[in-house]
Amino acid sequence: MRTIECARAEKFIIEDLDERLDADRKNWLEHHIAACEPCARIQAETQVLFHTAQLCNPPIPGAEFWDSYDSTLEARIRETELLNRSSYNWKIAGTFLAAAISAFVVFCFIPDPARDAIDDPQHATILMEELNMALGPSSQETLPFQVQDLTIEVRGLKQDDIAVNWFEVEEEHG
Protein backbone atom coordinates (compact mmCIF):
# COMPACT_ATOMS: atom_id res chain seq x y z
CA MET A 1 0.00 0.00 0.00
CA ARG A 2 1.45 3.36 -1.03
CA THR A 3 1.41 6.03 1.61
CA ILE A 4 1.79 9.80 1.63
CA GLU A 5 5.38 9.11 2.57
CA CYS A 6 5.83 7.07 -0.61
CA ALA A 7 4.58 9.99 -2.70
CA ARG A 8 7.04 12.24 -0.90
CA ALA A 9 9.78 9.67 -1.45
CA GLU A 10 9.08 9.56 -5.19
CA LYS A 11 9.46 13.34 -5.38
CA PHE A 12 12.73 13.14 -3.45
CA ILE A 13 14.03 10.30 -5.67
CA ILE A 14 13.62 12.47 -8.76
CA GLU A 15 15.05 15.54 -7.03
CA ASP A 16 18.03 13.51 -5.82
CA LEU A 17 18.87 12.30 -9.32
CA ASP A 18 18.19 15.70 -10.83
CA GLU A 19 19.71 18.25 -8.44
CA ARG A 20 20.90 16.30 -5.40
CA LEU A 21 19.07 16.44 -2.09
CA ASP A 22 20.32 18.12 1.04
CA ALA A 23 21.66 15.84 3.76
CA ASP A 24 18.49 15.74 5.90
CA ARG A 25 16.21 14.79 3.04
CA LYS A 26 18.69 12.32 1.65
CA ASN A 27 18.87 10.66 5.06
CA TRP A 28 15.09 10.50 5.31
CA LEU A 29 14.85 9.02 1.79
CA GLU A 30 17.43 6.35 2.50
CA HIS A 31 15.60 5.27 5.65
CA HIS A 32 12.30 5.14 3.79
CA ILE A 33 13.70 3.15 0.87
CA ALA A 34 15.35 0.68 3.20
CA ALA A 35 11.93 -0.13 4.60
CA CYS A 36 9.80 0.23 1.44
CA GLU A 37 10.30 -2.21 -1.39
CA PRO A 38 8.05 -0.43 -3.97
CA CYS A 39 9.94 2.82 -3.44
CA ALA A 40 13.23 1.00 -3.81
CA ARG A 41 11.99 -0.29 -7.14
CA ILE A 42 10.91 3.21 -8.18
CA GLN A 43 14.36 4.50 -7.31
CA ALA A 44 16.06 1.78 -9.37
CA GLU A 45 13.79 2.40 -12.35
CA THR A 46 14.25 6.15 -12.17
CA GLN A 47 18.02 5.67 -12.10
CA VAL A 48 17.77 3.52 -15.24
CA LEU A 49 15.52 6.11 -16.84
CA PHE A 50 18.03 8.93 -16.23
CA HIS A 51 20.91 6.79 -17.43
CA THR A 52 19.04 5.68 -20.56
CA ALA A 53 18.11 9.29 -21.29
CA GLN A 54 21.80 10.19 -21.36
CA LEU A 55 22.42 7.37 -23.86
CA CYS A 56 19.39 8.31 -25.89
CA ASN A 57 21.01 11.12 -27.87
CA PRO A 58 20.49 10.96 -31.61
CA PRO A 59 23.72 10.41 -33.56
CA ILE A 60 25.58 13.67 -34.13
CA PRO A 61 25.53 14.50 -37.87
CA GLY A 62 28.87 14.31 -39.67
CA ALA A 63 31.16 17.05 -41.03
CA GLU A 64 29.38 17.05 -44.39
CA PHE A 65 26.13 18.01 -42.66
CA TRP A 66 27.75 20.96 -40.88
CA ASP A 67 29.58 22.15 -44.01
CA SER A 68 26.36 22.23 -45.98
CA TYR A 69 24.66 23.81 -42.93
CA ASP A 70 27.04 26.78 -42.98
CA SER A 71 26.95 27.33 -46.73
CA THR A 72 23.16 27.01 -46.96
CA LEU A 73 22.63 29.36 -44.03
CA GLU A 74 24.93 31.92 -45.61
CA ALA A 75 23.05 31.67 -48.92
CA ARG A 76 19.70 32.03 -47.16
CA ILE A 77 20.88 35.11 -45.28
CA ARG A 78 22.15 36.69 -48.51
CA GLU A 79 18.84 35.93 -50.22
CA THR A 80 16.89 37.46 -47.33
CA GLU A 81 19.04 40.58 -47.37
CA LEU A 82 18.49 40.94 -51.12
CA LEU A 83 14.75 40.55 -50.71
CA ASN A 84 14.68 43.04 -47.86
CA ARG A 85 16.71 45.57 -49.85
CA SER A 86 14.50 45.16 -52.90
CA SER A 87 11.34 45.47 -50.82
CA TYR A 88 12.80 48.60 -49.15
CA ASN A 89 13.52 50.13 -52.55
CA TRP A 90 10.00 49.38 -53.70
CA LYS A 91 8.63 50.99 -50.55
CA ILE A 92 10.62 54.18 -51.22
CA ALA A 93 9.63 54.24 -54.90
CA GLY A 94 6.00 53.61 -53.96
CA THR A 95 6.02 56.48 -51.49
CA PHE A 96 7.39 58.91 -54.09
CA LEU A 97 4.93 57.68 -56.70
CA ALA A 98 2.01 58.12 -54.30
CA ALA A 99 3.20 61.63 -53.44
CA ALA A 100 3.52 62.55 -57.12
CA ILE A 101 0.03 61.23 -57.91
CA SER A 102 -1.42 63.12 -54.93
CA ALA A 103 0.21 66.36 -56.07
CA PHE A 104 -1.07 65.83 -59.61
CA VAL A 105 -4.60 65.25 -58.33
CA VAL A 106 -4.45 68.34 -56.09
CA PHE A 107 -3.28 70.66 -58.87
CA CYS A 108 -5.32 69.31 -61.73
CA PHE A 109 -8.58 67.93 -60.45
CA ILE A 110 -9.62 69.94 -57.42
CA PRO A 111 -12.30 72.35 -58.75
CA ASP A 112 -11.93 76.13 -58.38
CA PRO A 113 -15.36 77.31 -57.07
CA ALA A 114 -14.94 80.85 -58.39
CA ARG A 115 -14.04 79.60 -61.84
CA ASP A 116 -16.99 77.23 -61.87
CA ALA A 117 -19.31 80.01 -60.81
CA ILE A 118 -18.11 82.32 -63.57
CA ASP A 119 -17.98 79.61 -66.24
CA ASP A 120 -21.56 78.65 -65.49
CA PRO A 121 -23.77 81.41 -67.11
CA GLN A 122 -26.50 81.15 -64.47
CA HIS A 123 -24.09 81.40 -61.56
CA ALA A 124 -22.19 84.17 -63.31
CA THR A 125 -25.36 86.24 -63.54
CA ILE A 126 -26.13 85.75 -59.88
CA LEU A 127 -22.56 86.62 -59.01
CA MET A 128 -22.70 89.79 -61.06
CA GLU A 129 -25.96 90.87 -59.45
CA GLU A 130 -24.57 90.25 -55.98
CA LEU A 131 -21.46 92.19 -56.83
CA ASN A 132 -23.43 95.06 -58.23
CA MET A 133 -25.52 95.19 -55.09
CA ALA A 134 -22.56 94.98 -52.83
CA LEU A 135 -20.03 97.10 -54.61
CA GLY A 136 -21.83 100.01 -56.09
CA PRO A 137 -24.03 101.42 -58.83
CA SER A 138 -24.40 99.56 -62.03
CA SER A 139 -25.46 100.80 -65.44
CA GLN A 140 -26.12 99.10 -68.69
CA GLU A 141 -23.35 101.13 -70.36
CA THR A 142 -20.65 100.02 -68.00
CA LEU A 143 -21.93 96.52 -67.54
CA PRO A 144 -19.96 94.80 -70.32
CA PHE A 145 -16.86 96.56 -69.04
CA GLN A 146 -17.68 95.60 -65.46
CA VAL A 147 -18.33 92.08 -66.44
CA GLN A 148 -15.12 91.89 -68.33
CA ASP A 149 -13.04 93.47 -65.58
CA LEU A 150 -14.82 91.84 -62.71
CA THR A 151 -14.36 88.44 -64.26
CA ILE A 152 -10.67 89.09 -64.21
CA GLU A 153 -10.65 90.63 -60.77
CA VAL A 154 -12.89 88.14 -59.00
CA ARG A 155 -10.64 85.15 -59.35
CA GLY A 156 -8.71 84.50 -56.21
CA LEU A 157 -9.70 87.72 -54.51
CA LYS A 158 -11.77 88.43 -51.45
CA GLN A 159 -14.76 90.67 -51.56
CA ASP A 160 -12.90 93.66 -50.06
CA ASP A 161 -10.18 93.34 -52.68
CA ILE A 162 -12.82 93.23 -55.35
CA ALA A 163 -14.38 96.42 -53.99
CA VAL A 164 -11.02 98.18 -54.12
CA ASN A 165 -10.34 96.97 -57.60
CA TRP A 166 -13.83 97.94 -58.68
CA PHE A 167 -13.43 101.54 -57.59
CA GLU A 168 -9.97 101.70 -59.08
CA VAL A 169 -11.46 100.52 -62.34
CA GLU A 170 -14.26 103.09 -62.04
CA GLU A 171 -11.82 105.91 -61.46
CA GLU A 172 -9.66 104.86 -64.35
CA HIS A 173 -12.59 104.80 -66.71
CA GLY A 174 -14.70 107.51 -65.10
Binding site: P38, I42, E45, L49, N57, P61, F65, Y69, L73
Partner: protein, 197 residues
Protein backbone atom coordinates in the same frame (compact mmCIF):
# COMPACT_ATOMS: atom_id res chain seq x y z
CA UNK B 1 33.71 37.67 -25.45
CA UNK B 2 30.21 36.92 -24.22
CA UNK B 3 26.98 36.77 -26.22
CA UNK B 4 25.88 40.28 -25.25
CA UNK B 5 29.13 41.74 -26.61
CA UNK B 6 28.64 39.89 -29.87
CA UNK B 7 25.05 41.11 -30.13
CA UNK B 8 26.26 44.66 -29.55
CA UNK B 9 28.97 44.29 -32.18
CA UNK B 10 26.46 42.98 -34.70
CA UNK B 11 24.28 45.98 -34.04
CA UNK B 12 27.26 48.21 -34.69
CA UNK B 13 27.55 46.69 -38.14
CA UNK B 14 30.04 43.88 -37.62
CA UNK B 15 28.54 40.94 -39.52
CA UNK B 16 31.24 38.54 -38.36
CA UNK B 17 29.82 38.80 -34.83
CA UNK B 18 26.74 36.98 -36.12
CA UNK B 19 28.95 34.25 -37.61
CA UNK B 20 30.49 33.80 -34.17
CA UNK B 21 27.02 33.42 -32.59
CA UNK B 22 26.13 30.83 -35.23
CA UNK B 23 29.37 29.01 -34.54
CA UNK B 24 28.55 28.90 -30.82
CA UNK B 25 24.95 27.79 -31.03
CA UNK B 26 24.39 26.00 -34.36
CA UNK B 27 25.34 22.56 -33.06
CA UNK B 28 23.57 22.52 -29.67
CA UNK B 29 20.50 24.17 -31.13
CA UNK B 30 20.28 21.79 -34.09
CA UNK B 31 20.75 18.80 -31.76
CA UNK B 32 17.94 20.04 -29.51
CA UNK B 33 15.67 20.43 -32.52
CA UNK B 34 16.78 17.04 -33.84
CA UNK B 35 15.75 15.39 -30.55
CA UNK B 36 12.28 16.87 -30.96
CA UNK B 37 11.67 16.34 -34.68
CA UNK B 38 13.87 13.24 -35.17
CA UNK B 39 14.86 14.05 -38.74
CA UNK B 40 18.24 15.56 -39.66
CA UNK B 41 17.13 17.52 -42.74
CA UNK B 42 14.07 18.91 -40.96
CA UNK B 43 16.21 19.83 -37.97
CA UNK B 44 18.69 21.61 -40.24
CA UNK B 45 15.96 23.55 -42.01
CA UNK B 46 14.28 24.62 -38.75
CA UNK B 47 17.59 25.55 -37.16
CA UNK B 48 18.55 27.74 -40.14
CA UNK B 49 15.13 29.36 -40.15
CA UNK B 50 15.68 30.20 -36.48
CA UNK B 51 19.03 31.86 -37.24
CA UNK B 52 17.43 33.81 -40.09
CA UNK B 53 14.81 35.11 -37.67
CA UNK B 54 17.55 35.99 -35.21
CA UNK B 55 19.48 37.80 -37.95
CA UNK B 56 16.46 39.89 -38.79
CA UNK B 57 15.39 40.37 -35.17
CA UNK B 58 18.73 41.19 -33.55
CA UNK B 59 18.56 44.94 -34.23
CA UNK B 60 15.31 45.06 -32.26
CA UNK B 61 16.33 42.56 -29.53
CA UNK B 62 15.76 44.36 -26.22
CA UNK B 63 18.12 42.09 -24.24
CA UNK B 64 15.50 41.62 -21.54
CA UNK B 65 16.56 37.96 -21.45
CA UNK B 66 19.85 36.35 -22.38
CA UNK B 67 20.60 35.71 -26.06
CA UNK B 68 20.51 31.95 -25.45
CA UNK B 69 17.06 32.11 -23.85
CA UNK B 70 15.78 34.25 -26.72
CA UNK B 71 17.30 31.92 -29.31
CA UNK B 72 15.79 28.79 -27.75
CA UNK B 73 12.36 30.36 -27.36
CA UNK B 74 12.38 31.19 -31.10
CA UNK B 75 13.51 27.63 -31.82
CA UNK B 76 10.78 26.07 -29.69
CA UNK B 77 8.13 28.14 -31.43
CA UNK B 78 9.53 27.07 -34.79
CA UNK B 79 9.49 23.40 -33.75
CA UNK B 80 5.94 23.78 -32.45
CA UNK B 81 4.81 25.29 -35.76
CA UNK B 82 6.61 22.58 -37.70
CA UNK B 83 5.06 19.74 -35.70
CA UNK B 84 1.63 21.36 -35.93
CA UNK B 85 1.89 21.45 -39.71
CA UNK B 86 3.22 17.91 -39.89
CA UNK B 87 0.74 16.62 -37.28
CA UNK B 88 3.24 14.00 -36.26
CA UNK B 89 1.68 11.08 -34.49
CA UNK B 90 3.51 9.17 -31.81
CA UNK B 91 5.30 6.03 -32.86
CA UNK B 92 4.75 2.92 -30.79
CA UNK B 93 5.82 -0.25 -32.49
CA UNK B 94 7.13 -2.58 -29.82
CA UNK B 95 7.52 -6.22 -30.55
CA UNK B 96 5.47 -7.49 -27.64
CA UNK B 97 6.74 -11.05 -28.00
CA UNK B 98 10.14 -9.84 -27.04
CA UNK B 99 9.66 -9.33 -23.30
CA UNK B 100 12.74 -9.07 -21.15
CA UNK B 101 13.89 -12.23 -19.52
CA UNK B 102 12.44 -12.69 -16.02
CA UNK B 103 15.92 -12.80 -14.61
CA UNK B 104 16.86 -9.54 -16.34
CA UNK B 105 18.38 -7.22 -13.79
CA UNK B 106 18.53 -3.44 -13.94
CA UNK B 107 22.11 -3.49 -15.31
CA UNK B 108 20.95 -5.87 -18.03
CA UNK B 109 18.27 -3.46 -19.04
CA UNK B 110 20.59 -0.50 -18.81
CA UNK B 111 22.43 -0.79 -22.10
CA UNK B 112 19.73 -2.44 -24.03
CA UNK B 113 18.72 -0.83 -27.29
CA UNK B 114 15.16 -1.75 -26.47
CA UNK B 115 15.25 0.45 -23.41
CA UNK B 116 16.42 3.37 -25.47
CA UNK B 117 13.71 2.79 -28.04
CA UNK B 118 11.23 2.41 -25.21
CA UNK B 119 12.29 5.77 -23.78
CA UNK B 120 12.15 7.48 -27.19
CA UNK B 121 8.65 6.18 -27.80
CA UNK B 122 7.51 7.10 -24.31
CA UNK B 123 8.92 10.61 -24.88
CA UNK B 124 6.91 10.89 -28.10
CA UNK B 125 3.74 10.25 -26.13
CA UNK B 126 4.40 12.91 -23.52
CA UNK B 127 2.50 16.20 -23.65
CA UNK B 128 4.56 18.80 -25.49
CA UNK B 129 5.44 20.92 -22.44
CA UNK B 130 6.70 17.92 -20.49
CA UNK B 131 8.66 16.61 -23.46
CA UNK B 132 10.38 19.93 -24.09
CA UNK B 133 11.07 20.51 -20.39
CA UNK B 134 12.62 17.05 -20.07
CA UNK B 135 14.75 17.62 -23.15
CA UNK B 136 16.00 21.05 -22.05
CA UNK B 137 16.78 19.81 -18.53
CA UNK B 138 18.52 16.56 -19.45
CA UNK B 139 20.26 17.48 -22.70
CA UNK B 140 20.81 21.22 -22.45
CA UNK B 141 21.47 21.28 -18.70
CA UNK B 142 19.25 24.34 -18.40
CA UNK B 143 18.15 25.24 -14.90
CA UNK B 144 14.45 25.65 -14.18
CA UNK B 145 14.64 29.42 -14.34
CA UNK B 146 16.02 29.28 -17.89
CA UNK B 147 13.47 26.65 -18.92
CA UNK B 148 10.69 28.86 -17.58
CA UNK B 149 12.03 31.84 -19.54
CA UNK B 150 12.33 29.83 -22.76
CA UNK B 151 8.90 28.26 -22.45
CA UNK B 152 7.12 31.25 -21.02
CA UNK B 153 6.07 29.93 -17.60
CA UNK B 154 7.11 29.91 -13.98
CA UNK B 155 10.05 28.16 -12.38
CA UNK B 156 7.69 26.05 -10.27
CA UNK B 157 5.72 25.13 -13.37
CA UNK B 158 8.89 23.97 -15.13
CA UNK B 159 9.87 21.89 -12.10
CA UNK B 160 6.40 20.36 -12.00
CA UNK B 161 6.53 19.54 -15.71
CA UNK B 162 9.86 17.80 -15.27
CA UNK B 163 8.64 15.77 -12.28
CA UNK B 164 5.51 14.72 -14.16
CA UNK B 165 7.54 13.86 -17.27
CA UNK B 166 9.89 11.58 -15.30
CA UNK B 167 6.97 9.91 -13.54
CA UNK B 168 5.08 9.31 -16.80
CA UNK B 169 8.15 8.07 -18.64
CA UNK B 170 8.93 5.61 -15.87
CA UNK B 171 5.39 4.32 -16.00
CA UNK B 172 5.35 4.06 -19.81
CA UNK B 173 8.74 2.51 -20.32
CA UNK B 174 9.37 -1.20 -20.50
CA UNK B 175 9.53 -1.31 -16.71
CA UNK B 176 5.79 -1.78 -16.64
CA UNK B 177 6.06 -4.80 -18.92
CA UNK B 178 8.91 -6.20 -16.87
CA UNK B 179 6.87 -5.67 -13.69
CA UNK B 180 3.80 -7.35 -15.10
CA UNK B 181 5.89 -10.23 -16.27
CA UNK B 182 7.67 -10.56 -12.94
CA UNK B 183 4.46 -10.07 -10.97
CA UNK B 184 2.93 -13.03 -12.75
CA UNK B 185 5.76 -15.02 -11.26
CA UNK B 186 5.34 -13.35 -7.88
CA UNK B 187 8.83 -11.91 -7.97
CA UNK B 188 8.69 -8.16 -8.12
CA UNK B 189 6.27 -5.78 -6.41
CA UNK B 190 4.51 -3.19 -8.52
CA UNK B 191 5.53 0.18 -7.09
CA UNK B 192 2.19 1.65 -8.04
CA UNK B 193 0.24 -1.04 -6.15
CA UNK B 194 2.54 -2.05 -3.36
CA UNK B 195 3.92 -5.35 -2.17
CA UNK B 196 2.75 -8.57 -3.79
CA UNK B 197 0.47 -10.55 -1.52
Amino acid sequence: MNDDDLVQQFRNGRKDAFSELVKRYAKPLTMTILRLVRDQEEAKDISQTVFLKVYEGLPGFMMASSFKTWLYSIALNAVRDHLRVKKRSPVADYDFDDFPDESASVPDLLDSARMRKSLRDALEQLPEKQKVTFSLRIYENMDYKQIAAVMGGTEGGARGNFFQAVKTLRQKMLFSEARDFANDNGRVPDPEKGRPS
